[in-house]
């Protein structure tokens, strides 16, 4: 169930990411939904799930992007495992720690990703801090929102449906 959920999340993230990239190239560069899904899985289910999700999501992202397969997988695996380990060590059930984790994971992923590219393509390490910061903030926001939605969404829906039923009873 958990695996299926994670896979579905990753698939959804990929679809959204590619769709977003089709709509706006600039917008696509400001968020990494697959990374968000990986970090989410790591925070929610631990390091093993995080690293497996990172592996799957990264490889899929690499394959779809047409770049060197493995660089994104390596980076996201590292991120997923690291976030999972940190999430198990610290209390990250509040939005702020989660926000920090998402942002930090974005920086770690970008650093690792650029470093690998620098190694593979034998060019200098080039990391755009501003763009990375923006992506980190966006990713963190999306991630924290996702947590809020997943954790609070069912309750809200239940309360809303309960309120609707009461009103209908009053109405009739």
């Amino acid at each position: 169930m958990r695996t299926a959920g994670v896979l579905l999340a990753l698939a959804g993230a990929l679809v959204l990411q590619t769709t977003l990239a089709g709509l706006s190239m600039a917008g696509a560069t400001r968020v990494n939904l697959v990374l968000v899904a990986v970090v989410y899985a790591a925070l929610a289910f631990g390091p093993v799930t995080g690293l497996l999700a990172g592996t799957a999501g990264g490889l899929a992202q690499d394959a779809l992007a047409g770049s060197i397969i493995g660089i994104g997988g390596f980076s996201q695996t590292l991120v997923g495992f690291s976030v999972g380990v940190l999430g198990a060590q610290f209390i990250v059930s509040q939005p702020v720690p989660r926000f920090v984790m998402f942002a930090g994971a974005t920086f770690l992923h970008e650093a690792c990703f650029q470093a690998l590219f620098a190694l593979v393509e034998t060019r200098g390490f080039r990391m755009l801090l501003a763009a990375t910061l923006i992506q980190a903030l966006v990713n963190a926001t999306v991630g924290v929102t996702a947590f809020w939605v997943v954790e609070r969404g069912p309750g809200l829906l239940q309360r809303r449906s309960t309120r609707g039923a009461t009103l209908s009873r009053r109405h009739f």
Partner: protein, 288 residues
Amino acid sequence: MLDIRQRTGYLFLSVMVGHLILISAQVQSKTGVPVLEAVTFGTFARIQVAVAAVIDGVRNGWGNYVGLRGVRAENEALRRQVAELEVRLQEHRALAARSARLQELMDLRSRTTLPTVAAEVIAGNPNPGMLTVTIDRGAADGVQPNMAVIAPRGVVGRVIGPVAARAARVQLLVDRNAAAGALIERTRVGGMVVGTEDDDPPLLMELVSNLADVKAGDLVVSSGVDGIYPKGFAIGTVESSQEGPRLHRVIGLRPAVDFASLEEVLVVLVPARGATPMDGAPGGEGGQ
């Protein structure tokens, strides 16, 4: 059942290594060869180099060991061969020396009119008090007591009895009981040579007048007056000549024959009474 969650670190490392391999498989190196292939090739090349070095070492060690074993066996074989060859060489040298001596004997025999028979010294002196040797000729060969025994260089001694059928004993001239009639070749001064059994001098020439002209280096030959030794055969050379306290000089002689290396001799089958060696005989009188 192994729970993979308890092996998170190993799983993480495995996945990361897998990623690296995957990346390497797609990346070209500077030489155009995929990194994975280059790394794999380089790694295996190093392993192959190491393995080859080990194999070469083992092979060389084994080869050297076997080679050393072979060399050792060969060395032993060569040592045996060298020893055999040394023995053969010594045999050949001995044969050559013996041939030379026999040649000298043959020359001596051909130069003299005396009937002789060649004999080989087969034994030394059994009694320290007497200087004798045993030869392999005896009565069956016509050897009799008091026959002269000569060598290419000069007088050896005489046969003393008893004489066996195939062996005879020869008293050497250096024995203290031996004596021979002699004369100084240069001055024709006569005398008698006796043995001293001493090395300084081995022989003395007696009965030579103090007035006689005798010098060191003079050749002394047999005079034949003793009825044993044929005339004209070399006995030795004067080593020292001094006036004696009475009528006779004290003359020391150095024997012409090396008695220490006496191996082949000629036995004069008849007493040399009146016999004369042929011209050109070593130490002879030159036809006198």
